[in-house]
Each structure stands twice: as structure tokens, then as C-alpha cells.
Symmetry: C3
Subunit: 193 residues, 3 copies
């Protein structure tokens, strides 16, 4: 099995942190989420720990992807194009949830979940990628539920139907896991071309 | 020509009924549509006849698809992936119309119609699939207009511009017809692989 | 290098003018934009000069595309399908901006920009197409800023964060440039098939 190299981890951490900042800015701007504890340093619209957590989550997801199954080398010619499409997809879905946050939660969740399924059919290489998506769909929301229960942050009342976090949150994290798996496969295919 | 088998019909009926329940729940939750007659049994948010009608419509569309042209066997390897993408696309569009129902009807209709066209370029195998989409785009809205005129159900005033039903409804049914055609082709290709 | 033929220019002009009318109707209907000077002839919801300007912009973009790099002949079988997908994509994004116009501008811009990036990964043939997109992303918004400053038209206060025009406007024009490049390549491939 391919192992995660330090340079890959650094790149994935930065990518996750920047993507987290961009998506979280949309959530905070629309009041989808609100930071309740302000005794911490902030960067742009996020508490400093948020992009760090997303960056670490990105690296951890990539590591899991590499550990659970071998990576078929990416057979396409255009790795940058594929990576761009994958990143743009999860960030578009992230921003869409911000726009949808005050819609009835069931309809918004159906829309987000179906788009997550569509993204998976486009970017998941196989069972290992789907497994990474499912793991992220559990671990991410559970971590956010803990933070909400601890009074660190809150979701708007219109989108707090899953133990205080949004009902569509697992679908967003699922897409995150699938996309990070694809990026990991693209990075690991670097040497192969 | 391939004929519709009973097992295929049962599967398509169930798929259509479940998809109809999910999409209708989004329409009812957002008050895009309202059931006016409550003297009938309900299941989740729908009158019981609604998922049955969608299930029967799914089977009828599949039957029409098989009758009007031969099915080229699906050449791709991944039938489940393709079916998932097709189903997720029409259900995402269904939920999107719920979210858009109180937007100005022209803009919402342009958006839904363009996404329907995009879905057709992705999932329509050829003229027979487009014909199924067009047939659904006529029969479905006409049936709903009759129900609205009979006082059984109503669309919100913000989206009733087509004789009492939504102006974007034909585009949604068009996508339904194209997607059911693709599913039919995938099912009919089962023996070929 | 292939040169733009008169018949191609006429077709692209009409396509751009009709697409501009359709998208502008969504912007005007939702009050995303408002015409302030009514001493000019109108067609549908647009001042007559608007579809003419979009049509000329379409022809100019196609001309630039042909001048900056040779066109690889389109290798796919289905030119009409590809053209439909490209046109539907930019018009869907146009209508989406109308629907998003009263959302917080940052979140709306992130969503539109990510969808523009996704469209580029799908329709841009290479650097020349991206260059056409970037050129349109500069020239289009600058022209609209001049019109807004001249008091000819205005964007809603909820979406005027880029010198009086919408912050997402460059991303919409970028998609326009990429899509027109693809259409130009498809037209220029006509003789090759």
C-alpha cells in the first residue's frame, strides 16, 4: 500500500484549511452557524481552530483512504482538471447549504443528499472512497454535535434537526470524504505518470 | 423488441413510489403543493394515491420506452453507478423545485428547464428517451391540472402559472421521463452482461 | 488558424442575443438588475441594446478564441448534445444568480464561482478557452460597471459589491467565455466530420 508522504500531508492540510475557511465564511455570513465562544483567535470569519481541524481531518481522511485499499493509478491525462472539479464540487455544496439554511430542513436535506449521491457517482473510485465518505459522514457530525452541546457554536434553529446540527450535515461530510479520497488517489498517482 | 418483465415492473413501481414520496414530502413541507381533500388515507406527507400514481407512471414510461425503440445494451461497466446518478438527478431537481417555489416563476422555470436540458444531455440515450421525456412532460402536467381543477390539490400562488400548476412542472416531468428511460435501458441490459 | 465565417457569426450572434434575453428576463423579474433609463426601445424585459451587446460579445469571444489558438477538431460524435449541455450550463448559472441575488453576497459568490470552476473543468478544451473565460470575466463586468456608473442600470443593493455590480458577475462572465469557446470549437469542427 502507498503511504502518506509528508509533502502530500502538508498540501492536503493547507487545501483543507483554505477550503474550510471559504465554506465556513459562507456559513457564518448567512448565520447558518454562529460561534458562541469568542475568547479564541479568529481568522477571517472562523475561529482559528476550525480551519486547523478541517485541515487535520483532510489529512486523516487521506491517510485512511491509503490504508484501506490500494490506489489504482489515475488513468486520465488531466489530474489538475479532475482535482479542480472535485474541490469545486464539495465547496459548491458547502456554499449551497449556507444558501439553503433557512429553507424547510427536509426539502433542503433531500436536495443536498441527492447532490451528494450524484457527486459520489462522479468522484468515488470504488468502495474504499465510499467508505471514507461514510466515515466522514459519521465522525464529522458527531464532532460538531459535541461542540454544539459544549456551547462552542450553534446552528440556526431552521437547520438544527440532527441533535443540534443540520440534518444535511452528514451528506456534506460524505461528499468531503469522497472528494478527499479522489484527491488522495490523484496525488498518489503522481509518480505513476 | 424487449418486453417489460413482471419483476422489472415491480422494481420500477417501487422505485417510482418511493421517489414520489420523497419528492412530494419536499413539496408538501415547503407548501409548494397542498392536498385539499383529506378524506383519503395518507402515507408520510402524501395522499396514498400519489406514490401509487407515480409508481404506475414509472412502469408506463418504461413500457413506452421499450415499445418505441430497441434498447442498445448498456456498454458501461457500472450499471448501479449510472442508475444512482440518474435517480439522484431527478430527485435533486424535484427537491430544488420545492426550494424555488416562492421565487419569481419565470426565473425559477428558466433554471429548472436548463437543468432538465443538462440532465437530458447526460442521461438520454437518443430520440426514444427524449420522446419519453416529452410524453411525460405533457401527460404529467395535464393529469395534475385535472386534479387541481377538481379541487383535489393546489399549487402555491407563487408557482401556479400553467393552468394552476407550476410553470416548471413540464421540465421536471421531462427529466423524470428521460431518467426512467435510462433506468429501463439499464435493467434491460442486465441479461446482456 | 481557422477564421470566423459570416454564417458562424450570424448564428453565434442570434444565440447570444436569445440567451441574453432569457437570462436578463430572470434578472429583471427578480429585480437583480433594473433598467433606469426607459427612453430606449425594449424587447421582452430587456432594453433593445442588451441582447445586441450580448450577441456582439458572443461573436467577439468566438473570434478571439479562433485567433489565439488552433482548434482541435471535436472528437466526440454528438456535437448537438455537447452544444446543448454547454448552453444549458451557462443559462442555468445565469438564472441561478437571479435566484441568489438577495442572499448574502459572499456565500452566493462562493457558490457561483465554484459552479463556474466546475463548468470550466467540463467545457474548457484547454488554455485558450480558459483565456477567453478570463477575458470575458474582466471585460464584461468592466462594461457593466461603466453602465451602472452612467446611471443606465443598477444592481440590487444586496448584490452590488463589485463597484456597483454583483460580486459573482465575473464568475458568470467567465462561464460565458468558456462556453462560447466550446461552441466555437464545435462549429469549427463542422467541416472536419
Amino acid at each position: 500500500l502507498t503511504r502518506l508522504k509528508l509533502s502530500w500531508a502538508v498540501g492536503l492540510f493547507l487545501l483543507g484549511a483554505i477550503g474550510g475557511l471559504l465554506g465556513d465564511a459562507a456559513h457564518v455570513e448567512t448565520a447558518t452557524t454562529t460561534y458562541l465562544s469568542h475568547g479564541v483567535p479568529f481568522i477571517w470569519r472562523s475561529a482559528l481552530w476550525f480551519p486547523i481541524a478541517v485541515g487535520l481531518g483532510t489529512v486523516a481522511t487521506a491517510d485512511v483512504r491509503l490504508r484501506i485499499a490500494a490506489v489504482d493509478l489515475w488513468s486520465g491525462h488531466e489530474r489538475v482538471r479532475e482535482a479542480t472539479a472535485a474541490i469545486a464540487t464539495v465547496l459548491a455544496l458547502y456554499a449551497l447549504t449556507a444558501v439553503l439554511h433557512d429553507q424547510p430542513e427536509g426539502a433542503a436535506t433531500t436536495l443536498v443528499a441527492m447532490l451528494a449521491a450524484l457527486a459520489a457517482t462522479r468522484f468515488a473510485s470504488g468502495r474504499a472512497a465510499v467508505a471514507c465518505g461514510l466515515a466522514a459522514a459519521v465522525v464529522g457530525p458527531v464532532a460538531e454535535i459535541v461542540l454544539v452541546k459544549a456551547g462552542v457554536a450553534a446552528y440556526a434553529r431552521s437547520c438544527d434537526g440532527l441533535f443540534g446540527v443540520a440534518l444535511w450535515l452528514p451528506a456534506l461530510y460524505f461528499t468531503f470524504g469522497v472528494v478527499v479520497s479522489r484527491l488522495t488517489e490523484l496525488i498518489a498517482s503522481e509518480g505513476g505518470r
